[in-house]
Amino acid sequence: MKPSISNMLRFGLGAVLALAVGTACGSSDAGNGTGEPADMGPNERPDGGGGGIDGGTSGGPDGGPEPFATKSARRMSVEQIERSLDVVGGFPPGSVQIPESLALTLGEPDHRSITERSFEPSPLFMKFMVDLGGFVCTEILRADVDRPLEERVLLLEGEQDERLRSIWFRFTGITGSAADPYIERLARVEEDASAASSEPGAGAMAVCLAAITSPEFLLY
């Protein structure tokens, strides 16, 4: 299988923008860029849980309220991207390796002239992610062809909603009703890409690109 990267990138970018735009706080049909449904109240959780260590406490370790600022959103480091793409693609650890010179450009320090790590979400970084996404998604599709069904990442069988939820969960950890707005858009991406290309896997490729370049994947 040889998906056309340029076509895929086109649909992937369309999907990226579709996923990214309109995520203002309080919007009822989109997330807020970090994977949580925007229409939940501040103390509500999709699983209905409350305090305690098992997910989303309502206070400090003593259970009381903690009136402080929360963790800041940050983009993944080069190391995190490498290791996470190994996991996403079902590849052995160490498979995805970004060349050292490129890592430097993307904010990794060389500890000689650059000693500070940079997490700036620059345009260069995003261009790199689109290019890397094209490469990695192609490799995942190639590997999927030879994988048993239960080990596949993108070439899944079953209903579209179920397939897309599985892929989105793998990439972002977002599940349940929180995933609804994303699944709706991913479906459009998959359909548009499949309609525009006769190549097998075109829809899956576009979905993969959209997921890899989404803030829900890259930010945490």
Binding site: A20, I53, G55, G56, T70, S72, R83, S84
Partner: protein, 551 residues
């Protein structure tokens, strides 16, 4: 494509405070993702994420903290503090660097470019001439046959053929090396002359001749070890058996990376074993592998400024270059974790640089000048004591006593200046002429105040570390860096700095003043109760509500 627009659309929108929602708790699977990225550098596998659907358990956090991934995170965090990089350090002298020379027929012969000048060149023209592309030949007496190289009527060099050698970096293989570079004598005559035969070496020898009156015996013509700093001035000394004193670029890169790895392994051990955090900065324990041991034994002695000190100080295990396994062998003396590891000492060449990096990295303190420097012509600006020089004093009043903790570690190298070999005074050190060897003379001139200026006259003959030092601070020199770390730990400075850094690492921002006053006491309490195990501090941070909510 408008990348700026794409990037802004993707990332700019999620900047904190840019219209974001009031902080909401994360879904458990998203919380696990955050924890997994922060603590192991990767997202959870689908199976791990499925297991978190009902919540993230303390056991899951324990597993992440016990993983190899967490060690990698801590290693990267500390690398950003100690800046491991030896790219600008000359680990092996150029005279002992071997470069491949590819002949027209494809034959590759290794040679030393600098030794071409030292032992092949005879004219005034600089000529990096390698040997000839043929096997070396010997006369009836076993002497290497050299042939003239002429430019017109003038003889400009003598060249030889190559020999095949099994290099230490690739046992079982053989490479071709120019015969004059592959010489393996243990000793050689230094600067033997005549000038006409070794004109390039002679210019170097003349520089040393000026100091000959301070030596017990004439330097020129004396016999020296080929495993010593002036070996490059002996035509008899080559790369040694199996080329042990020489290196290629690849070997040097390998040694540098292993030396930095040695430093980071100290961090791995303390964190993995849950030792008190300050042990990273005080422990005598260190591990060695083949490349690092080979370097200390066979390359470091060749560089005057690196100077390895006494081998016994390092308790080097017997390892060959190709032994990649790390072997534990505690150092003796006043060693202090990574702060006196070869990698750190070479990266930060002077005592002040070492102290400055420690002060920034582990005490979270910085030197801030109080204002512009006054005119250099003002009398106060002429003061050689930086703690009293106008404009410098504000920083150096703190920096000088701090730097004195490294006073008994050689600058530009990594040997300890032990009391046995480097007593406090030059006369006790045998640094009063006549001196036993040129190498010792060099060390005396480097380490002792032998030719003081007027302001330094009161310190004549003292080890450099004691010059301008307040006698009340002599204990800092004797105690080494570990003493400073112990004092800073006893007063809680190291712990507060670590908490500040860990908070910034995992919360993605610096703590607020309110957090410092109300949250940090709880974090530090958890840290102390664990015996200062870093994992306990990190756990206390990621269990905070602030960590578990949306930005």
């Amino acid at each position: 494509m408008h990348w700026t627009f794409v990037a802004m659309a993707l990332l700019g929108q999620t900047e904190p405070g840019d219209g974001m929602c009031e902080a909401e708790p994360l879904q458990p699977t998203r919380l696990l993702r955050r924890l997994s990225l922060d603590l192991t550098n990767r997202i959870p596998t689908p199976a791990e994420a499925e297991a978190a659907l009902q919540g993230v358990t303390p056991g899951m956090i324990d597993e992440l903290l016990a993983s190899e991934g967490f060690l990698e995170v801590m290693r990267a965090h500390h690398a950003d503090l100690v800046w491991p990089n030896l790219d600008t350090v000359e680990l092996v002298p150029e005279s002992h660097m071997l470069y491949p020379n590819r002949f027209a027929d494809g034959t590759v012969v290794y040679y030393s470019a600098v030794r071409s000048l030292l032992v092949r060149q005879v004219g005034e023209t600089t000529l990096y001439s390698p040997c000839r592309n043929e096997p070396a030949s010997y006369d009836a007496d076993g002497n290497l046959v050299l042939e003239e190289v002429r430019m017109g009527d003038e003889v400009v060099a003598y060249t030889e053929g190559w020999v095949e050698v099994e290099p230490y970096w690739a046992p079982g293989t053989r490479i071709k090396v120019c015969a004059l570079d592959a010489l393996d004598a243990p000793v050689g005559r230094v600067c033997p002359g005549p000038r006409e035969r070794y004109p390039f070496a002679d210019s170097q020898c003349r520089g040393i001749r000026a100091f000959e009156r301070f030596l017990e015996e004439p330097f020129e013509g004396s016999t020296i070890s080929c495993n010593s700093a002036f070996a490059f001035l002996s035509p008899d000394c080559g790369c040694g058996p199996n080329l042990r004193n020489c290196a290629t670029r690849e070997v040097v890169r390998d040694i540098a990376s292993q030396m930095l790895e040695q430093q980071l392994r100290i961090i791995d051990r303390v964190i993995r074993d849950g030792e008190p955090y300050e042990r990273i900065l005080t422990s005598n324990a260190i591990e060695w592998n083949g490349p690092v041991v080979h370097y200390l034994r066979n390359h470091a002695p060749l560089v005057l400024d690196v100077y390895q000190g006494e081998e016994a100080d390092w308790s080097l295990p017997n390892l060959d270059y190709t032994d990649r396994e790390w072997v534990s062998a505690p150092r003796t003396g006043r060693h202090a974790g990574i702060l006196t590891s070869p990698g750190f000492l070479l990266r930060f060449a002077t005592d002040r640089m070492r102290a400055h990096r420690y002060y920034n990295a582990f005490e979270c303190s910085a030197f801030t000048p109080t204002g512009p420097l006054p005119s250099p012509f003002e009398p106060c600006s002429q003061n050689e004591d930086l703690t009293e020089r106008c404009g410098c004093d504000s920083c150096h009043l703190t920096l000088e006593p701090l730097a004195s903790h490294w006073g008994r570690f050689i600058e530009n190298g990594f040997g300890e200046l032990t009391e046995e070999r480097f007593p406090t005074t030059a006369d006790a050190a045998g640094c009063i002429p006549p001196i036993e060897s040129a190498e010792r003379l060099y060390r005396c001139l480097r380490e002792y105040e032998l030719q003081p200026t007027e302001q330094r006259e009161p310190y004549r003959g003292l080890l450099n570390a004691y010059v301008f030092e307040d006698p009340a601070d002599y204990g800092f020199i004797e105690g080494g860096p570990a003493l400073r770390v112990e004092e800073a730990t006893a007063s809680g400075i190291v712990q507060r700095c670590l908490a500040e850094r860990m908070w910034t690492e995992f919360m993605g921002r610096e703590p607020t003043d309110a957090e410092r006053s109300t949250v940090f006491p709880e974090l530090l309490d958890a840290f102390e109760r664990s015996g200062r195990d870093v994992k306990a501090l990190v756990r206390a941070i990621v269990e905070r509500d602030a960590y578990r909510r949306l930005p």
